[in-house]
Each structure stands twice: as structure tokens, then as C-alpha cells.
């Protein structure tokens, strides 16, 4: 039956539309090789993929460039990976409206190139931003370093075309910046990580590119020494574009990386305020160093065999950094191979990743599960959260991706059922 399904799908998607038995390791979904990879060209073709997969008893895992496929739990049944790579068209770009509508497969790098000529940018900077697809970044919903100033992905997305799990094609939101017509399905879909629908097209809000983009840095051997200046930045009377405490393979030790954007005189004045607030700890760096550190701040903690996202109140970041360090089982000055961390001092979001030294070591995995569950409990006691983005299968099963409160979990399950009653999309991925 599966051969017939694949033949029918291949015919529907045209040349280059379906790759059967893809090369191992390229499209792996949390440890499981997909039956095939589909490259639909339209929402209608996406609906066809969902229908064929459903009839064959397979799940469908949407992706753009494949960045998040390793995240979440291993699918419990065969899956088809659906890549939006062949949907890259910019359908509407009105520079004077500061809005754009583009296919979900457009990479953020290509989008950037397209709008830069008009003096504009999309301040959406998830890890590995340039190679990520627009749809993938929106579906993942990760708030990058710039989000405290410019908004999380959910604040930048004006509208979406999405094929929901039951095959219906929905156009939600619009392409204007203020829109309250009906319930806000846009915010529900953004960040739902492909579990409710496949995003095929996105309408976005763009911003004028700031005239000046400056980076101030404070360095320390130990990240905890950067919390004080970090808190001073977070409570200063000017809001920088981003402020991260970061440590990764490319950061050369720990650094507080603060980005200030705007008009020349304003940037000068803001930098003076922030430097003063930190007793001179923050200093400007040259462009090359700034570029490296901004990349580090954006990407740190997004690689590794174990990845977590922690959220705490900004005043608790010192405590959260200690907790993350305990989890990574190393002193702050030790090697950062295979991961690192980034902590947004403005929002209290910490991302961390690390390598598992002995994969498959059962005792070690039990120990890790215990440590993660304990960390989550301690975080929740202080109003925080811990999301387990990636971990060995047994750990993910034991700890769960999220630590949902009892009142909310049924709501989440009901929402999933409303959009995807047969659980075709990312079966089991988030444990919802």
C-alpha cells in the first residue's frame, strides 16, 4: 500500500516533488528516518500530502530547511517530512506599507536581501537565522535577542495561510498591522511547531533599518560576574535592542552583549546611559567582533544533544544561570564544546545546550531525567518554566517537553484535536 501511496503522491507533486527513502541523517525526525520527503508547491498540494499520509496511516512533519526536525519526541509511527522549500515566492511587498507576504519556504537570509535594498529589515533573529525558512521560524516561534524591543514572532506576523491537520486551508489574520476581526488564530498558530497546521504563506510587519547599529560588550571568565551589569542594563531607563549574557564556542569566554540601534545622536546618548549604568563595564567593540558576538548571542545553546529553554523573571537570571550550570555539570569557566548558553537579561529567557558524553548510557539518562525534572520543579516554584527541546528519547519520555499546569493541559489537547483530529501532524512530538 505504501508504494502505491508514494507513487500517487509523486504524481501529484510533479518532478522533484517527492524523495523516497531520503539519505539517512538529513531529514531524520528525532531519531526516526522518514518514509519520504515531500516538497509541495502550494497549499492545495500540502493538503494532498496530508490526505495521502492520513490514508496510509503515516504522520506528517512539516519543516522548512529542516532545522527543528531533531526536536521533540520520536514519532511513534512512520512519517513523511513535508518541506516548504518550493514555496518561496514573495507575493506582496509594499515597502511604503512596511509589509510583505511571502511563501513559507523563503529563507530569512533571502528575505533580508530582498528588503535591505529598501532600507528595511525584519527583526526576527532565531538561531541560525539566515538559513532558516520564514515558515519554520514562525512555526517554531522562538523569540530571538531582538524580541524585547521589536516583538516576538507572534507580534511580527500579520496573517498566515495554513493547512490544518484535517486538510482545510485557512487564511487567518490579514496584511494590515491592526486587525481584530474574529478570534486571534494567528497567535495560536505562531509557535505551535507544526502540530496544528502547515504554514504555507506568511504576511509580516517590517521595520525601517536603523541608521546606526552598535554593540557594547563586557567580558568575564565567569558568566555570573556579568549578571550585575546585565541587571543594570535591564533596569536602565533606555531599552537596548538586545542584551544577552552569552557563552559559546565562538564567544571566547563569557560576554554581556548589548545592541543599541537607532539614529546617530540617540545611539550615542543611549550608549552613554548604558555605559554609565554599568559603571563603565560595557565598552564598544569593532565591527568584526560585534558580528561574531551577535551571532554567538543568537545561536548559543541551540545545538547539542540536550537542549533546554528556561524562562524566569528577569530579576532571577543569576539564579537561573546557576541552575543551568548545575545541569550542564561544569564550572562556568569550563569548555563549551557542543552547546553553550545565551541568557536574555531583558526577558529572562535562557537557552542552553550541551553534549551527552556517553550516548545510550541508561544510568546516565536516568540521572539526567532526574536532574531535569528537579530543575523544572524548582523553576516552576519561582514562576518560571523549563522546556525540554531535545534530549535522548528515554529522557524526553520521562521528563516531557513541557511542564503544563493541570488546568491548561486539557485546553491544549482540545485545541490540537480541533485542528488535527486524527493527529496526522507531528504525532506525539510535543506530548500534547
Amino acid at each position: 500500500m505504501s508504494a502505491r501511496t508514494l507513487a500517487a503522491l509523486a504524481a501529484r507533486l510533479g518532478p522533484g516533488g517527492l524523495v523516497e527513502e531520503p539519505e539517512a541523517g538529513v531529514w531524520t525526525v528525532a531519531g526516526r528516518e522518514p518514509v519520504a520527503v515531500a516538497f509541495p508547491r502550494s497549499a492545495a498540494e500540502v493538503a494532498s500530502v496530508l490526505e495521502h499520509a492520513r490514508n496510509a496511516g503515516w504522520g506528517v512533519v512539516p519543516t522548512g530547511a529542516g532545522h527543528e526536525l531533531c526536536e521533540g519526541r520520536e514519532p511513534a509511527r512512520p512519517v513523511v517530512v513535508l518541506s516548504t522549500r518550493r514555496m518561496q515566492e514573495v507575493t506582496v511587498y509594499e515597502p511604503a506599507d512596511l509589509t510583505m507576504t511571502a511563501g513559507a519556504g523563503l529563507t530569512l537570509g533571502d528575505l533580508e536581501a530582498r528588503v535591505a535594498g529598501e532600507g528595511q529589515w525584519l527583526p526576527l533573529d532565531p538561531p541560525s537565522a539566515t538559513t532558516r525558512s520564514l515558515g519554520g521560524a514562525v512555526a517554531r516561534g522562538s523569540a530571538g535577542p531582538l524580541s524585547p524591543m521589536f516583538g516576538a514572532p507572534r507580534d511580527l506576523v500579520l496573517g498566515l495561510t495554513v493547512v490544518i491537520g484535517d486538510g482545510r486551508v485557512l487564511r487567518v489574520g490579514g496584511r494590515v498591522v491592526k486587525n481584530v476581526a474574529g478570534y486571534d488564530l494567528v497567535r495560536l498558530i505562531v509557535g505551535s511547531r507544526g502540530t496544528l497546521g502547515v504554514i504555507t504563506s506568511v504576511s509580516l510587519r517590517l521595520f525601517p533599518r536603523p541608521a546606526v547599529d552598535r554593540v557594547l560588550v563586557s567580558r568575564a571568565g565567569d558568566a555570573s560576574d556579568l549578571v550585575r551589569p546585565g541587571r543594570a542594563v535591564a533596569t536602565a531607563r533606555v531599552l537596548p535592542a538586545s542584551a544577552q549574557i552569552v557563552r559559546s564556542e565562538i564567544s571566547d569566554g563569557s560576554a554581556l552583549v548589548v545592541r543599541v540601534v537607532g539614529a546617530p545622536k540617540q545611539v550615542d546618548a543611549d550608549c552613554a546611559v548604558l555605559t554609565g549604568a554599568t559603571d563603565g563595564a560595557l565598552q564598544p567593540v569593532d565591527e568584526a567582533e560585534a558580528r561574531v558576538l551577535l551571532d554567538a548571542a543568537r545561536d548559543a545553546g541551540s545545538t547539542g544533544d540536550v537542549r533546554i529553554e528556561v524562562s524566569v523573571r528577569p530579576a532571577d537570571v543569576a539564579w537561573a544561570l546557576d541552575l543551568v550550570r548545575e545541569l550542564r555539570e561544569e564550572p562556568a569557566s569550563a569548555s563549551t564544546a557542543g552547546g553553550g548558553f545565551a541568557c536574555c537579561v531583558l526577558s529572562g529567557a535562557v537557552r542552553a545546550g550541551w553534549r551527552v558524553e556517553a550516548p545510550g548510557d541508561e544510568a546516565r539518562e536516568v540521572e539526567l531525567s532526574g536532574a531535569l525534572s528537579d530543575a523544572r520543579r524548582r523553576l516552576e516554584e519561582r514562576g518560571g518554566t523549563l522546556t525540554l527541546v531535545r534530549a535522548p528519547g528515554s529522557v524526553l519520555r520521562e521528563v516531557g517537553v513541557y511542564g503544563l499546569g493541570c488546568g491548561v493541559a486539557p485546553l491544549m489537547r482540545e485545541l490540537k484535536k480541533t485542528f488535527d483530529p486524527e493527529a496526522v501532524l507531528c504525532p506525539g512530538r510535543l506530548g500534547v
Binding site: 509594499e94 515597502p95 511604503a96 506599507d97 509589509t99 516561534g141 523569540a143 516583538g151 516576538a152 507580534d155 490544518i164 482545510r168 486551508v169 485557512l170 487567518v172 490579514g174 496584511r175 494590515v176 491592526k178 481584530v180 476581526a181 474574529g182 478570534y183 486571534d184 488564530l185 497567535r187 495560536l188 505562531v190 511547531r193 502540530t195 521595520f207 525601517p208 533596569t235 536602565a236 531607563r237 531599552l239 537607532g262 539614529a263 546617530p264 545622536k265 546618548a269 524562562s311 524566569v312 523573571r313 528577569p314 529567557a349 514562576g383 518560571g384 518554566t385 522546556t387 513541557y402 503544563l404 499546569g405 488546568g407 491548561v408 491544549m412 485545541l415 480541533t418 510535543l430 500534547v432
Partner: protein, 496 residues
């Protein structure tokens, strides 16, 4: 009692369907409600209920069986559970300033008002958040946080009376949303009472960082149909160091539109960009709020920048250049707070002053892509002429959010019918150019009939289903937002 029957001032306005069959509020239920909140806080006397018959949209009226005024989450939960058990429709209400009829009672149903839930529970300057009850007035929140150098950004025009709970329900905007975004961006967490009385905590630090779905974002703007928010955690911003405001006066709306486009093209990001048109200018100047606009002008543009003092003069100078380049006949910069207030006065008092020149005013609300504004305004003008109506426009030019205000006399049935027809054409026009039927006032009861202009059957069906996830009984604010379900009686949602 047969529901769905509203007393209506004018039958030319379409009726707002209510709930299928509303059971009566029997004395035992009223007694149970009184036992929870205290006798005084359950209002059933017809003369006292008069004040709750409509919200800011006066075209619709309906008398609830009772108004209940609980004091906190626990009381709301118990009240709602009682109403749920009795099968009574529940209509949440803040200050009742909404302009789309979102707080219009269901005839025979019960209004749950947040008037007594007006405490700011905590201001946390270290984390730049505040936790408050939904009945806190928008402007009071900023007043309370000002000593910490912080403020709450969304600023709907009614901010001196409207409540945060209402802002959450409507996802309210305001002039400064151009730079800062709407209510949704500033809500971190909500305590919500669902229609059966269950209390759920939505969001938290980072809002959706610990959950697969952004249910806070989904709840904000749900217009009371998902539950009652009984506590709200908002994000605060540092008060900008400086503000600069300028006013440019134009002889044509096209020129004002060109100025707005030029300001955006120059890479400037004003905190607000507002236009009032010639008809509004004349109304303002004829009132006690006269701001000194030339009465033969066709458009007045207010542009405001805020942020670090050092950068502002440069921004304003560039914006002034854009205005002159677009043909402004006069550009003024406010020199102090008093002048700034004066420049804003015409904009802020526009709705009130128009009320003085006609017995009734319909404040419309729609959004179009910014670049289509001049064309849309010309076509709205033509629609007004076609129907023999005066349409005065006030709008957030920076984000294309229009407020065409139609002046009329409700006693004149023919004119009222023309208002309805013209409104429909304006909505159709805005959608046709890529816009939407409401930018910040919400759908409520008034715009349900336009929802099909922006949503297909599938979108509406999914919205109905999502609403049932939160409110399986369909008791929360029935008859609002979504048009009648062809499969359900009187628009009550049907689970399928």
C-alpha cells in the same frame, strides 16, 4: 422568556440575535448569587439595570435579568458556576466604553461586571510587570507605575475610563500602537474563569515559553466569548525621556497622505501619526476644544516622536521636511507640554465635538494598507455623497486604521437606513483594497454581519470550534463576534 428579542431603538438596525432560549433568572438563583457577592451587588431592579442596557454603541439595547458585581477571582468563579448550572448566558463587562456592542447584554441573561475588581495587586519594577484586577482603569495603571519610571503602552482614546479587562477582551489599540504595538504584546499572563467556573492560569513568564500554544494570545481579543479574565499580568516599559510633537496642516488629503508615506520612506518610526480631516477640523473648531486649526484646511496631521531626547530633534526636523515637501501649508512644533496638549486636543476630542453637531454619531473602524489611504478616503467621501451623509474621518494614519464617523439623526429612519448601507459599502471597500473590518474596536454585535467579508466558511467554523474549546456550554457572551451558525439556533454555537 423568548430570547433573541432586543428592544431596539430603530428597527432599521439589524437585530442582534441573542441566545437560543434563555431560562428565567429564578429567585433561588438570585439568592445564591447574593450569598456569594452580597445583596447589594446583585442588581435586579429595572431602573438600576437601565445603566447596563448598552455599551458605547448606543444603537443596541437589551435588558439583562441581573448585573452581578463580584470582587475577586473566587467570587467570579462561584458566580459563573451558579449561572452555568442555571443555564444562563453570561456577559462580561468592564467600563462599557466599547464601540462594537461587545458588552451588550443578552436579554434575560446576566451581566458580570468588573467594577469592583479595580485593585492593582502588585507593581514589580525589577521585572517591569504589574499584576492587576481587570476593572483597573487603563490610565490609572500608568499613574501607579509612573513613580517607578514605567508606563503601560497601549493607549486607547478612552483610556481615562476604559478598563484593562476590556482592553484584553478587545485587544485594544490606540494612537501610540504604531511604534509600540497593541494590547496583546503587553499581556504576560491571565487568570481566567471559564464558563463552568473553573479557574485556569494562562501564560506566565515569557507568556508561551513553557507551553505549546500561545493561549494568552488567543484569549486576548476574544471579546468575552472564552471566559472572564480576573487577573492580568502586564508588561511595562520605561517612560521615554523625551517627546516631540508636530502638527502639519494640508489643503488636500492626498498631500497629507504623501507626507505620511514620505515619513515612513525616510526610515522614521514615529510613536504616533494621526490625521483628522476637514469635516472633523470644522467640528472641532466650532467647539470649546478649538485647537486653532484653519477651518478651510482639508487635513491636519499630528506626528509624535518619543525616546531618547538627543535623537528627537533630528527626527522631528526630518518629519517637518517631509511634510513641507508634500505641500503642507503650515507646520508647527509644540514647544512645551501645554502646546503639545493643544496639538493633540483636536484629535482627542474629535469624537466628542462631532456629537455636538449631530444628534447621533456612528464611529466606524477599519484598517487598510497605509498606501491605499488617500484612495480609500476619496472613495469614502464619494460613498457619503451618494447616500447624502456627512462622513468625518479621524484616523491612525501610520498604521492605516481608519475611523470614518457618520453623523446622523436616529429619529430619521430613512437617514438611519442610509447610514447602515453606507457603512456596509465602506467595509466592503476596505476589505477590497486588502484591509479588514475592524482594527481596534472589535466585532461585537455590530460587525458580525461583516465577518463573512474577511472570513470564509472554514475560518468561521474553526473559530466556532475554538470558542467551544474554552466554553463548551456556549454561555459566554453568546451572539457576539461570529455570525450566526447556519446549523445553530440564533447564532448559538453548536458542537459537531
Amino acid at each position: 422568556m423568548r430570547a433573541g428579542i432586543l428592544r431596539h431603538d430603530d428597527s432599521f438596525f439589524p437585530r442582534a440575535p441573542g441566545f437560543a432560549v434563555t431560562p428565567a433568572l429564578v429567585p433561588e438563583v438570585a439568592a445564591r448569587l447574593r450569598a456569594v457577592v452580597g445583596g447589594e451587588r446583585v442588581i435586579t431592579e429595572p431602573e438600576r439595570l437601565l445603566a447596563y442596557e448598552s455599551d458605547g454603541l448606543l444603537a443596541y439595547r437589551a435588558q439583562p435579568a441581573a448585573v452581578v458585581l463580584p470582587a475577586d477571582t473566587g467570587e467570579v468563579s462561584r458566580v459563573v458556576a451558579i449561572l452555568h448550572a442555571a443555564g444562563l448566558p453570561i456577559v462580561p463587562r468592564g467600563a462599557g466604553t466599547g464601540l462594537s456592542g461587545g458588552a451588550l447584554p443578552v436579554e434575560g441573561g446576566v451581566v458580570v461586571g468588573t467594577a469592583r475588581m479595580n485593585r492593582i495587586l502588585e507593581v514589580d519594577p525589577e521585572n517591569r510587570t504589574a499584576r492587576l484586577q481587570p476593572g483597573v482603569v487603563n490610565a490609572d495603571l500608568t499613574r501607579a507605575t509612573t513613580p517607578y519610571g514605567l508606563y503601560y503602552a497601549p493607549d486607547p482614546s478612552s483610556q481615562s475610563t476604559c478598563t484593562i479587562g476590556g482592553n484584553v477582551a478587545e485587544n485594544s489599540g490606540g494612537p501610540h500602537c504604531l511604534k509600540y504595538g497593541v494590547t496583546s504584546r503587553y499581556i504576560e499572563a491571565l487568570t481566567v474563569v471559564r464558563s463552568d467556573g473553573e479557574v485556569v492560569e494562562l501564560g506566565g513568564v515569557g507568556r508561551d515559553s513553557g507551553a505549546p500554544y500561545d493561549v494568552v494570545g488567543l484569549f486576548v481579543g476574544s471579546e468575552g466569548c472564552f471566559g472572564i479574565a480576573t487577573e492580568v499580568v502586564v508588561r511595562l516599559l520605561p517612560i521615554p525621556e523625551g517627546v516631540r510633537t508636530l502638527l502639519a496642516v494640508f489643503d488636500s488629503m492626498e498631500a497629507a497622505g504623501r507626507a505620511v508615506t514620505a515619513i515612513i520612506a525616510a526610515g522614521l518610526l514615529p510613536a504616533a501619526m494621526e490625521i483628522i480631516d476637514g469635516a472633523t477640523i470644522r467640528a472641532v473648531e466650532a467647539s470649546v476644544f478649538a485647537a486653532g486649526y484653519p477651518i478651510d484646511a482639508r487635513a491636519a496631521l499630528v506626528v509624535e516622536f518619543d525616546g531618547t531626547d538627543a535623537g528627537l530633534d533630528g527626527d522631528v526636523a526630518k518629519a517637518e521636511e517631509c511634510c513641507r515637501g508634500a505641500g503642507a501649508r503650515n507646520v508647527r512644533r509644540a514647544r512645551d507640554d501645554e502646546e503639545r496638549e493643544a496639538l493633540w486636543r483636536g484629535r482627542k476630542k474629535a469624537f466628542g465635538t462631532m456629537g455636538r453637531i449631530a444628534p447621533d454619531l456612528l464611529v466606524q473602524d477599519a484598517t487598510v494598507p497605509r498606501t491605499r489611504l488617500p484612495e480609500v478616503l476619496a472613495r469614502i467621501d464619494a460613498i457619503g455623497q451618494e447616500y447624502g451623509l456627512t462622513v468625518a474621518n479621524v484616523f491612525h494614519a501610520g498604521d492605516g486604521n481608519l475611523h470614518p464617523n457618520i453623523l446622523f439623526d436616529r429619529q430619521d429612519r430613512d437617514e438611519t437606513a442610509r447610514v447602515e448601507a453606507a457603512s456596509h459599502e465602506i467595509m466592503r471597500l476596505c476589505v477590497e483594497v486588502g484591509g479588514t473590518i475592524t482594527g481596534e474596536h472589535g466585532v461585537g454585535v455590530d460587525k458580525r454581519k461583516y465577518m463573512e467579508l474577511v472570513c470564509g466558511e472554514d475560518e468561521l467554523a474553526v473559530m466556532r470550534a475554538v470558542r467551544l474549546v474554552f466554553d463548551p456550554a456556549g454561555l459566554m457572551n453568546p451572539g457576539k463576534v461570529l455570525p450566526e451558525d447556519p446549523g445553530g439556533p440564533d447564532g448559538a454555537p453548536v458542537r459537531r
